[in-house]
Amino acid sequence: MKKNLLILLSITFSLVASAQSKYFTRNGRVFFTASSPLEKIEAINDKSTSVIDLSNGQIEFGVLLKAFLFERSLMQEHFNENYVESDKFPKATFKGTIADVASIDRTKDGTYPVKVTGKMTLHGVTKDVETTATFTVKNGALSATTDFKIEAADYNIEIPGLVKDKVAKTISINVQSIYEPLKTS
């Protein structure tokens, strides 16, 4: 009987521990700019999803391309129709790992710069991406932010000759997520 109780307890503990190692968001903010001196080209997506597992450092993002909002609705249409072709490739994803994930102490307020490496898929093309992310723990709440750049050409996103001077070839991306504990049961 005692043994049974012990096993039961250990199961519940292990469950709690694993639940706490995973965090998620459905309202991650992804901002990008491909602006040039001639034209402001930027958009915000407030609906990206992300899950991290601090027990093994796994991190994933899913970003619906149609949820990017531009100042100009025509630019938004062109982005979806001509550049990322969101009917064919609706989602951009990132799957990677946080190096040195153990350095993030969830019990102590502070900022934790970490290296994140992984694969980003956009427009049907998967490429390696490496960036430095900053995790912040404040009053037990976990958030993360990162900046990185990608080349449009790497993802087969074609910029036609007529607008070559207006659209930057290098796209700067900023990601901000405020994570909540993921309850998996």
């Binding site: 199961i11 915000i44 994933e60 100042e71 025509l74 001509n82």
Partner: protein, 320 residues
């Protein structure tokens, strides 16, 4: 899956044993195993842990590159807070010969401003050089083709417009003269569907009323049906066709059905439309009830439309 299967088979083996105290422990162990392996199997894709939301309703966009197929309205609308400055230009007839440089010596033009009041409502005004005619319209999207939940396979739009002849003396023969003689009206339903990324088709039953006609036998009410389509050749280039069949043609006015064939070229904020058409008119009253050019005889004009959009209200702020 494999792990779970293994656990199950072990479960059966072990429960077969009669030692009941040990049995319980083993059952628990197996459950733990199942749980752990089941979970690690899943965690290969972390995002799957977030239940995927049901596919949301999504409106179908970009059935046409422009709010006009060529002459007539398309099933496409301006975004909210977007102003479209539109220049429509037609040269003279190709069969004018070398003397008129195949029509290039002559030109008629229509300037217009369209504004997207909301995603579903657009208002526009324009002025044509032919008859110095003013026109204005309201265009409303009643049904929007969509995919996903509660999808609708087609769009329905309603257009109501008015035209006004601004010539000093519209017609010397008219007696008595009323100012309302200058007015014309048109009402249109656009039923359209974007069949695929490449192909869109729309049908536009149209009713045109003219307050004034020259002959007693000429109809004041003219009925027509339009058929517009687009075939996309590449991301930025498309072929367009805009045909209006006039049902009750007037004998004295030599009505012809209006047929236009064109190419849409899109470059950032501009859309260029280059076309061949037998219609000189560039509003609904004019191209439906005044087209007398005959394609067979070479009464064809080369023309172009240029559309340039300006964002007046930030799309993100005007979101309803």
């Amino acid at each position: 899956m494999f792990n779970q299967f293994m656990s199950h088979s072990r479960l059966h083996k072990i429960t077969g044993q009669e030692n009941s105290g040990k049995k319980n422990i083993h059952v628990w162990l197996c459950l733990v195993l199942m749980f752990v392996f089941g979970r690690t199997g899943k965690s290969q894709d972390l995002l799957d842990l977030l239940e995927n939301e049901a596919p949301k309703k999504e409106f179908v966009k970009n059935a046409f590159k422009s709010t006009r197929v060529i002459n007539g309205h398309s099933m496409e609308m301006l975004g909210a807070g977007v102003l479209d400055f539109r220049i429509m230009h037609r040269f003279g007839r190709l069969n004018g010969g070398a003397y008129n440089l195949y029509g290039l010596d002559q030109a008629t033009i229509r300037f217009g401003f369209d504004y997207g009041i909301s995603k579903r409502l657009t208002a526009g005004i324009g002025r044509s050089s032919s008859k110095k005619e003013l026109d204005g319209f309201l265009k409303y999207r009643l049904i929007w083709q969509s995919t996903g939940e509660k999808s609708i396979p087609f769009s329905v739009l309603l257009v109501s417009g008015m035209t006004m002849n601004m010539l000093k003396q519209p017609d010397v023969s008219e007696k008595p003269y009323y100012y309302s003689n200058r007015l014309g009206y048109y009402y249109q339903a656009i039923i359209g569907r974007k069949f695929s990324e490449k192909f869109s088709l729309q049908l536009t039953p149209t009713f045109v009323h003219r307050n004034y006609v020259q002959m007693n036998n000429d109809p004041n009410d003219v009925y027509a049906v339009g058929l517009g389509s687009r075939i996309k050749l590449s991301k930025r280039i498309a072929l367009t066709e805009d045909f209006y069949y006039v049902i009750n043609k007037s004998a004295s006015e030599n009505f012809q059905n209006c047929l236009s064939l064109g190419i849409d070229i899109e470059t950032g904020g501009h859309v260029f439309q280059i076309q061949f058409t037998n219609a000189l008119g560039m509003n609904e009253r004019a191209f439906i009830t005044e087209t007398d050019g005959n394609w067979g005889k070479g009464d064809i004009q080369l023309g172009f439309n240029i559309s340039r959009v300006f964002t007046i209200v930030d799309n993100r702020k005007s979101k309803q």
